[in-house]
Symmetry: C2
Subunit: 251 residues, 2 copies
């Protein structure tokens, strides 16, 4: 049984995608701007600057002054926190259309996490002061931002729960399902997680180790619930995984 070759095909990031048209689309879809009329989006667009970031580059570091709000235009960005012991904890993986760095604009003044480009990326950013101007001009945006941050808080608390009570197996299954829901793409019978991510990353997301992730995923492959190769995963039987998450390992 030949192992399938990597089915991941990355969209190429070339300068053209950060065209005006594309920028307007991305910005206009942000949860806190999407209710605004086209001309407002257009004005807001002028306050954003774009930059190309290549894979593994850092957009900012934990502890840096938080003076910008960022937006993934193209590519994937991961947010990590480093522990004193050197292990890194992967808080979230963001894809095109998601914002980051924001929470610190509102309240704190330094970033509490490091942002790393997972792939080559095009990143849009806006300064805190320019963002303030937007808030002043469109008061309901604040409200929408609040909703977005609240949602992330709820998600974070869910992860706290999972880390507290789930086994490594359940946490890994859960992380796969979450990524599939967010970044997945239908591929034949299954859902391909369209993102180059390693066992290492998955370990950092689930408070586990590469070895454990590898062993657990091998079990999942054996059961036929997923297919997987180097840096990719396809979910074949989401129901079984969900069941595992809810009920724990079958005895």
């Amino acid at each position: 049984m030949a192992r399938p070759k990597s089915p991941v095909r990355l969209d190429w990031v070339d300068p053209a995608v950060c065209s005006l048209e594309y920028r307007l689309k991305i910005i206009g879809r942000l949860p806190f701007f999407k209710h605004l009329p086209a001309d407002a989006i257009s004005k807001i667009n002028n306050l954003f600057r774009d930059s190309d970031v290549s894979a593994n580059e850092r957009v900012y570091f934990e502890g840096d002054e938080a003076d910008h709000l960022y937006l993934v235009a193209m590519g994937k960005v991961k947010l990590v926190r480093n522990s004193a012991s050197g292990r890194e904890v992967l808080l979230d993986i963001l894809h095109s259309g998601e914002y980051f760095g924001s929470l610190t604009i509102f309240g704190g003044h330094v970033h509490t996490e490091t942002a790393i480009a997972q792939t080559d990326c095009c990143i849009l950013k806006i300064s805190a002061t320019d963002f303030e101007h937007i808030l002043a001009e469109y008061p309901d945006v604040t409200r929408k931002v609040l909703e977005a941050v609240s949602q992330r808080l709820a998600e974070s608390q869910e992860i706290v729960k999972q880390l507290s009570v789930y086994t490594a197996e359940q946490r890994i299954a859960s992380a796969l399902m979450r990524l599939a829901g967010k970044l997945g793409e239908a591929r034949g019978q299954g859902v391909l997680i369209q993102l180059p991510f390693s066992r290492q990353d998955l370990a950092a997301m689930t408070g586990s180790t590469t070895e454990t992730v590898s062993r657990v995923m091998s079990r999942f492959v054996e059961e036929g619930w997923i297919k997987s190769g180097r840096k990719w995963v396809t979910i074949m039987d989401a129901n079984r995984l969900e069941e595992l998450i809810k009920r724990g390992a079958v005895n």
Copy 2:
């Protein structure tokens, strides 16, 4: 060596403490109202209703419709999430002056956690619609709420990190320090955590078990870093605990 008797003395909750004057003080100190003038606070106060809740009563349940914002006037409230396996995860312990239930008003529509009175409490609450009116009348309040929620998000992410990389010992030390910072009171040489909380609660906060918490805390007592009895703890050597959190167990 006689074990010290419980030094915890709870302030008694009698109807008088929820007097007008006290309510104004509590409401006026909320991070998102404290910049408002006295007459505004007074008007806002009229939108709050108070209720007495006795220890172990639930203020609301996970899944309930989130149509109110709550405020601890007196007493302690804990926020928990229940897992399918029946274990409960303690997300936070709130004391007088802290708000809860809010994140769901802005965005979601059901509570994502259960709120339980840890002691007899006096709780103030305001309906979502009334809160909307306040937001409409005092636009900068939204901004302040956003800051408050952002802060909680950062805290939650810190806990995610801790659960991911810390040992049980470090998590317990960390939880004690956090509680001491928030609820602690100087008592002789040490800091008494002024709150009746059991090993059970501490286990639920740290993703651990009562037995493990007990064993770890016995070790801390032996080392002289804390004193502890039934439902109370006094931190005697915060520096050592901090060191343990940073560097891990001494070998």
